[in-house]
Symmetry: C2
Subunit: 83 residues, 2 copies
């Protein structure tokens, strides 16, 4: 069994209105030290072991989990040792 952590973030060149809104809210709450906020998706997948696991996870990201036109993705694979 494997656990895959996927991080999907907007490309630097893409405007992040959601991040801007959170930044304004933090400023309104007196957290002036915040200079930038970028918001993305974090996904945890559990997978049974399979051949070419990394290749297939890459495919899942490219086809479904990330919109590669405006988003970047990266992932980390961890083996889950049954307790």
């Amino acid at each position: 069994m494997y656990k895959v952590k996927v991080y999907v973030t907007l490309r630097e060149s893409v405007l992040d209105p959601q991040g801007g809104a959170v930044k304004s809210a933090l400023h309104a709450m007196d957290y002036q030290e915040v200079t930038d906020v970028r918001i993305g998706k974090y996904m945890e997948l559990q997978l049974e072991s399979t051949e070419k696991l990394e290749e297939r996870v890459k495919e899942m990201c490219e086809k479904l989990l990330a919109n590669t036109v405006i988003e970047d993705y990266r992932f980390e694979v961890e083996e889950v040792v049954p307790s």
Copy 2:
């Protein structure tokens, strides 16, 4: 300058319909090895250095970035060395 990575995930006990939908979609695309999907938020904050930085980030999470009734959060602080 500091970069803070914030991970917000639904508590284990909370149903994740979005994750369920993604799992079904992955199965429909023949990725049967996926047994579970949990979806959360990933945020990158940039902050100027300030006193009690970790304490203030914790406050930001508790007050705004996470809904602590149904979500857990964790964060990592990195110092950004100006290039």
